[in-house]
Symmetry: D2
Subunit: 363 residues, 4 copies
C-alpha cells in the first residue's frame, strides 16, 4: 500500500496555512535526524532514535528558551527539572523507546565530549514511548552509536515519517503509528511566525480517532485480531510532542505553547489515558542565549499576540499525528504481532460520507 501525507489525500485539518515542508523543519534552523533499527535476530527489534536539533551545533553554546508540559505523566522525559529551573535547552533533543531513554541520554553527554564541547555541564532532554508490542524492548537494543547516528543524520527539509527513528515500533489509535510532523504559519501584529510540531505517536483507542471531527475510528471499527495483552492495550502507549517556533518567546511562554499540544491531541482523540505518557516540549529559536555573557538580550511576544501561536500549535500537533498515521506502514514484529496501517481508502471513504455534498468553505 502506498502511504501518503494527510494533505496528499485531500484532507485538510485546521484553518492556518502550513509552511513550505509542512514540518517542524519549517522553523529555520531546526534539524531532524532518524536512526532506525530493524532486525529479526537474535530477537525481533523494531526501534530507533529520532534527534531534533533546535539549532545547528551552535546549540551547545547558543541556548534556546524552552519548557515542557506533562498532560499525563506516565512516561519519561529527562532534563525537565533543569527546564523548570532555567528554561534553557543547550543540547539536541532525542526520542526513543522506554527502556533505552538512559543510554540515549548519556549518549548526548558523550556526543558533547566527542565534539569537544567545553560548556561543561549538559542535562539533555530525551523522551520515550513504549514499543514492546512490536519490538523486544527487554533486549535493550539501542546503543550509544545508534544515538550518534540519529544526531549525525539531522538535516533540514522534509521529515521522514511513519516507521522511522524513535517511531519505528509505535502504534497509534490501535493502527500502526510512529513519527509525524506538520507546521503552521501564525500571523501576529509582530509578524508571521512558524510553529512546527513533531510527534512520536504511540497512544490511543481506535474508537476515539477523529479526523477533522469525523469519527473515523468508530466507522472503521475494531481490528479483527485484538492487541496482545499487558501494558500494550488501548490504554497503553504514549505521545511525545515537540513544538518549535521562531517567534521570540520566553520560557514561561514556551510552556504555554507546549500546553496547546493537549488541544491538538484532543482533536484527534487523545484523552490522556492512564497508561499514556503524554509529554510535550516547546522551544523558541527566536531568542539567542549565548552561554557565556553576563546578561543576554531577549524579545518577548506580547501576551495578546499569543493566540494565533496557540492555534498553530494545536493544529500542527493534530496534523502531525494524522501524518504519522497516514505515513506508517503495516509492520510485523515481536512474537509475530502485526500492527495494521490505517487504511487510506477507508479513511477517504468515511471522510467523504461525513461531509456535506455542497462544498463548504473553511473558516
Amino acid at each position: 500500500m502506498t502511504r501518503a501525507r494527510l494533505r496528499d489525500l485531500g484532507i485538510v485539518v485546521g484553518s492556518l496555512p502550513p509552511g513550505k515542508w509542512n514540518a517542524i523543519t519549517d522553523v529555520p534552523g531546526v534539524r531532524v535526524g532518524h536512526a532506525t533499527l530493524i532486525r529479526d535476530e537474535p530477537t525481533v527489534v523494531r526501534t530507533g532514535v529520532t534527534a531534533i536539533w533546535p539549532r545547528g551545533p551552535e546549540i551547545w553554546r547558543d541556548y534556546a528558551y524552552a519548557a515542557y508540559h506533562s498532560f499525563n505523566g506516565y512516561g519519561e522525559m529527562t532534563g525537565v527539572v533543569w527546564l523548570d529551573e532555567q528554561g534553557l535547552l543547550g543540547a539536541p533533543i532525542a526520542i526513543t523507546n522506554t527502556h533505552c531513554v538512559g543510554v540515549v541520554r548519556d549518549a548526548i553527554c558523550a556526543y558533547a565530549v566527542r565534539e569537544r564541547i567545553d560548556t561543561a555541564f549538559h542535562l539533555p532532554v530525551v523522551a520515550e514511548t513504549y514499543d514492546g508490542r512490536l519490538s523486544d524492548a527487554e533486549s535493550f537494543p539501542v546503543t550509544r552509536e545508534l544515538a550518534f547516528a540519529a544526531l549525525d543524520a539531522a538535516a533540514s527539509g522534509p521529515v521522514a515519517e511513519g516507521n522511522v527513528g524513535g517511531g519505528t515500533g509505535m502504534m497509534c489509535h490501535q493502527f500502526k503509528g510512529g513519527i509525524g510532523s506538520a507546521s503552521r504559519l501564525a500571523t501576529t501584529k509582530a509578524g508571521v511566525f512558524t510553529v512546527g510540531a513533531l510527534v512520536q505517536a504511540n497512544y490511543g483507542a481506535r474508537e476515539l480517532l477523529r479526523v477533522d471531527g469525523v469519527p473515523v475510528g468508530r466507522e472503521i471499527g475494531p481490528d479483527v485480531v485484538p492487541l496482545p495483552a499487558g501494558p500494550s492495550g488501548a490504554d497503553g502507549g504514549s505521545i511525545i510532542v515537540v513544538i518549535a517556533t521562531d517567534a521570540p518567546l520566553l520560557p514561561i511562554q514556551c510552556r504555554r505553547l507546549a500546553r496547546r499540544a493537549t488541544t491538538g491531541l484532543a482533536w484527534v482523540g487523545g484523552i490522556g489515558a492512564n497508561g499514556s505518557g503524554d509529554i510535550f516540549l516547546a522551544f523558541s529559536t527566536g531568542n539567542h542565549v549565548p552561554h557565556d555573557l553576563p546578561v543576554t538580550e531577549a524579545r518577548s511576544l506580547a501576551p495578546e499576540q499569543m493566540t494565533p501561536l496557540f492555534q498553530a500549535a494545536a493544529e500542527a500537533t493534530e496534523e502531525a499525528i494524522l501524518n504519522a498515521l497516514t505515513a506508517a506502514e503495516t509492520m510485523v514484529g515481536y512474537r509475530g504481532f502485526t500492527a495494521h496501517a490505517l487504511p487510506l481508502d477507508r479513511l477517504q471513504e468515511v471522510m467523504k460520507r461525513y461531509r456535506p455534498a455542497s462544498g463548504t468553505k473553511r473558516g
Copy 2:
C-alpha cells in the same frame, strides 16, 4: 425562543451514559445554588453568584480531596495555594464575575462565622469570568448578601442553566453563554462512578465552535453586529469548570481529573486563547476527611481504573458547555449590547447536514 438542553434536541456527544439529571448534582451530596442579579438602574447589571457545595454543610468539618488545573491562567481562582499544599476543600465553592471575586471570597468566610463554624481557618475557592460586555462590571455590583443567597439556595436535583448565577452575563463562542452542567457514569473494575461537570462558559471564537466534531460555528457564520472592542473580543472571556465525582480519589488523582476538562473544552473548540482564564477544579466525595482526627482513612482508585473517569470528565465538560449554549437566552445588556443565543434551529440543521444518511451506531 424556547431553549433546551442539548439532548432534548436529539444531539448526543460522547459515548458514556449520563446520570439521572445529567448534571453535577448526580454526584450524591453535591448541591448547586444560584443568585442572579439583573437590573437596569443605576447602571445595567447582569451578574450573579453560583455556589457549589461538595457535600452539605458537613463540608466545614468533613473535608473533600480536591485539586485544580490551570490550562490558561488569565483569571482568578482563590484558594489554589492551599489546594496545592493540602489537597483539601473545607468550604463551599463559588463562581462570580471578575471584579467581585474578593467580596464573594470573604463572604464565604463570613458565612462560616454566621453559621458558627468553629473550624477556624478557611481558605475558600472562588473563581470568576468577565461579564463586562453585558454588565457594568466597574460598579462592583455583587454583595456579601448575594453570595449568601447563592449559598443558601443550593439544592440537589436539576441545575438551572444559561443566564443564571455567575453565568448571567457571560458569552461563549460569541453566542450568549453562562452556566451549564452534565454528567457521565464511568464503569471501572471498582464499580460504577458518577462524574459531573458544571461550567461557567464565557470564552471562545465562533468559528472554532464544534458540536460532536461538526463545525457548527463556521457554518452559522459571524454575527451581523460585531462584539464591542476591548478585552471583550473573541479572545477574551474565560471558562471555569468544576468537576465532581464520587469515585474515591486522592488529591493527586483529582488533579488528573481536572486536567481532562482541557480535552472536553478542545472538543467544543476552546484553545485557551490568551485572554481566556481556563481554570478547572476537581473534587472527590468518595473519601471523607474529618478535620479533627489525627489520622484519616482514604481509598484510592487504582491508576489503571482512571481512564473511564478521564473520558467521563472530558465528555461531561463538553456537554456542559453545549448545555450552557443551548440554554442561554439572547440578552440585551450594558451600553445596549446584545448577546445572541445560539439558534437552535440552525444548530439542528447543520448537525443533520453533516451526518451520514445511514444511521451509524456510536462507539
Copy 3:
C-alpha cells in the same frame, strides 16, 4: 521600651552590604505604604493594609516580571494563577489579614477604576496572615477605603516596621511580630544590583528562633503566659515575603529568587509549620513590559550571575524578619491577650554570650 533595627543593636547577619535604607525601597522605584487600624470599639481591632508598588503608577501600563513560590501553602495569595501563566505584575501588591484578602483584592480593581486606568483587566496580588489573636478578625474590619489609604500612602525612603499596616496584629516566634524590611547589594559580572525584602511576619515557635545562628529563642525561654488556644498556637501564623530587585530577570528567574526566601526564613528558625502560610513573591524592576507593544525587549541576567542574588535574597529576608521582631512593640489586643515584644536587652545579652571573646572577622 525603645525599639530599634537589628543593626542599631550592633548585630549583623549575613555578609553582603545593605542598601541606603536597608529596606525594599532601596530598589529604585519601589514604594511602600501602610494603613493601620487600631480601635477598641465596637470590638478590639488591630489590623491594617500594607501596599507595595513595584513602580509608581506606571505599573498599570509598564508591567514588571514576577513569580511566586509557596513554601507552605496554608494561606492565600490572589493572582498566582495569573503569575504562573504570564509572569507579569500589572498592579500594586497588598498584604492584610486573612479574612479581608477579598475586599483588598477587589479594592485594587476599584482603585484602577478610580484612577481611570483603561488597561481593562486586573488580577491583583494580595496576600494575608492571620491576626485573630490580637484582633477580632471575624468583624471583617478592613474596608476598601483602608486599602486605598495604604495605596495612596506609598512612598520611597525608610519603611515603617513592626506594628504597622498589614503587620499590625501579627506575632512572630511567639513574640510580637509585624512588618520588617531589609536589603542587600549583590555584585555580579553584570554590575551591582539591589535585592530588597519586605515581610509580614506572623509565624514560628519561640524555641526555634535564631539570630546569626545563636539560639536566642531557646535562651530567652517560653512566655510566662501561654498563647490562647486554637489556630493561634505556635504552629499557626504565616509569613509573606516580597522580594524586589533591579536586576534584569525573566519570570522564571524571579521564581528562583522567591524560593530563596525559604533559606532566609530557615536561618531565623522558620520550618514551614503546618499551619503557616509561607508564600513568597519576587519581582524585577530591571525589565519593562509596556502592555501595548506587540513585542517587548527584555534583558536576562545569566544563570551563573544569579548566586549573589540568591544570597542577597536569603540575607535580606533573614534581616527583614529580625527587623520586624526588634521593631514591634508589645501589644494588648482582643480578649485582653498581650503579645510581648522581643526583649532587646536579653537579645543583646544572649548574642554577646555566644560570641567568642576575640573579634572574628566576617567572611
Copy 4:
C-alpha cells in the same frame, strides 16, 4: 585521620531524638547499598552508585507514595514526571554521577527484567551530582553491572558514609563530601514516626558552612590550594536528599516533607547556588499500594500532625550532611587534585569557642 559521625564528636544538632542507627535505615524496611569504583587506570576514576530500596523486593509490586521537590533544578532526577502524575514509587532509587544517570536508570529496568518482574512498565528514579573534580567523568565509568552491585548490596542497619557509592568523588562546602545519613523520631498524636534522610552532598561554599549555627567554614578559612576552575567551583556541585518515613502519608504530603530538606540544607549553609542541583525525594512506607488492586486503602496523617515530621526532616537532612562531612576522608583524584576532609580537631575547637562556658540545655 580517623573519621567519625557528628555525634561521636560530641556535637548535637537539632532537638529531636535520632533512631537506632541514626540513619535512613531506621525507617523499617528501607535498605541501602553502595557500589564504589576507585581506580587509577586507564584514567583516574572516583565514582559509584548508591541504591535505596523503599521496601524490599516487594517494592516492584507494593508501591510506595512519593514526591519530589526541586529547590534548584541544576541537575537530573529521572522519573519525576511520573512522580508528579501518580505519586508512586515502584522500583528502587539510585544516585550516581552526572554523566551516568542514564546507564543506571536503564539498569534498573534491566534489573527488573533479570528478576522476572512482570509489572511491565518501570520509570525509575535516578539522581546525580557531579564528580568531575576528582574523577574522569568523561570516561563514563559506571556500568550496568556496577548498578546491579549497588542494588544487590542493599541492606538494613548502619549506612556507610563518606567516600562510598555515588558519593565517592563528591565535595561539600569545599571539603571532601559524599554520602551521609541521619534520622529523627517525631512524636504526633497518631504515634511516634521515624523520618530518615540520606544525602549525596556535593555542594556549597566553605564560608557559608555552619554547624548548629556556628560559622565553622568561616573560622577554618579557605583552602591553601584553590579548587580547579570550571563548573567545579564553589558554585558547582549539587545535593540529592532522599527522605523516608513510616508515617502514613499521601503523595501530596510526601511533597511537603521533601520541601523541608531545604530547611535542613539552609541550616548547614546551602543556598541553592545557581550551579547546584538541589533535588529532594520523599517517600512513605506507611501506606501500601499493591499494583494490581482496583482500589487501595490508605491512611493519611492529619495536616496538624505534620509539623513534627517537618522538623524531623529538616534536622535529619542537616545532620546527614554533617555526617557526610565528618565521615569523608581526604582524597587525591583526577589530575592530582586533592579534596581535603573537614579537619575534625578544628571543627571541635571552633564549636567549643562559640559555645557559652555554662552548659545550656537544649530545647
